[in-house]
Amino acid sequence: MLLCKWNGVVIIGRNVKIKAARGALDMTQKALAEAVGISRQTMNAIEQGDYNPTIKLCRAICKVLGKSLDELFGEEDS
């Protein structure tokens, strides 16, 4: 999930940063989902921007991927 600003409105978009960080660790979506204790369906929904995870889950994903909250879920201006 990425928070993007478009015409001043915050929208939820696809989270390519998670996918990239996961790819860098050669980790599948399923492996990441298992590592943070969620289903692959939920992990996929987060990456697609269809589900807005809680801060607790965001932190768990960051911990597994070795990234900060800002790096994975930080706001981006577009």
């Binding site: 943070v36 204790g37 969620i38 289903s39 939920t42 589900y51 995870p53 809680t54 607790k56 889950l57």
Partner: protein, 158 residues
């Protein structure tokens, strides 16, 4: 995310979805039960025969009301105001009036005379006053509870 101590087999998204499904299921049962009571009442079923359904509906209503007030919640769409309560109270009063009128004049085929009409009107007005009084009591409890919860949260900020 699954907690270590929790027996919940679902993650947070699945849990949210299940909660939404359960919420929809609850309101479906609530309104179907409400419609069933109205329909049975129209067909001449007595209050004694409807006791089970009424108790079930009443229990659900009481639970929703108490839980909402305890958590300082009102409705999603309307603010708790005197005007909103005056308007909302008219809904059950109107339903009861129509129900009694249909039952008296259509089903029981009573003659349209002053006594019967006055009785129906009196029941509707009584229901209106009772609903309005109840909503106003709820509003006072809500405002008191809201103040208490906001004060507690403000103390935590210090």
């Amino acid at each position: 995310m699954k907690g270590k101590k929790s027996n919940n087999m679902l993650d947070e998204m699945q849990d949210n979805k299940l909660l939404k499904i359960e919420e929809f299921g609850f309101w479906l049962v609530f309104w179907v039960l409400f419609a069933a009571i109205l329909l049975q009442a129209l067909m001449g079923t007595t209050l004694k025969e409807l006791a089970g359904e009424i108790v079930a509906l009443f229990a659900a209503g009481v639970y929703i009301a108490i839980s909402s007030l305890k958590n300082g919640l009102w409705t999603r769409k309307y603010a708790p105001t005197l005007k909103a309560n005056l308007i909302t109270s008219a809904i059950p009063s109107f339903i009861l009036g129509v129900l009694n009128a249909v039952r008296a004049f259509v089903i029981l085929k009573k003659p349209i005379e002053f006594g019967v009409t006055a009785q129906i009107a009196a029941i509707s007005v009584g229901a209106y006053i009772a609903c309005f009084a109840l909503l106003e009591v709820f509003r006072l409890i809500y405002e008191k509870r809201r103040r208490k919860l906001d004060d507690t949260e403000a103390e935590d900020e210090r």
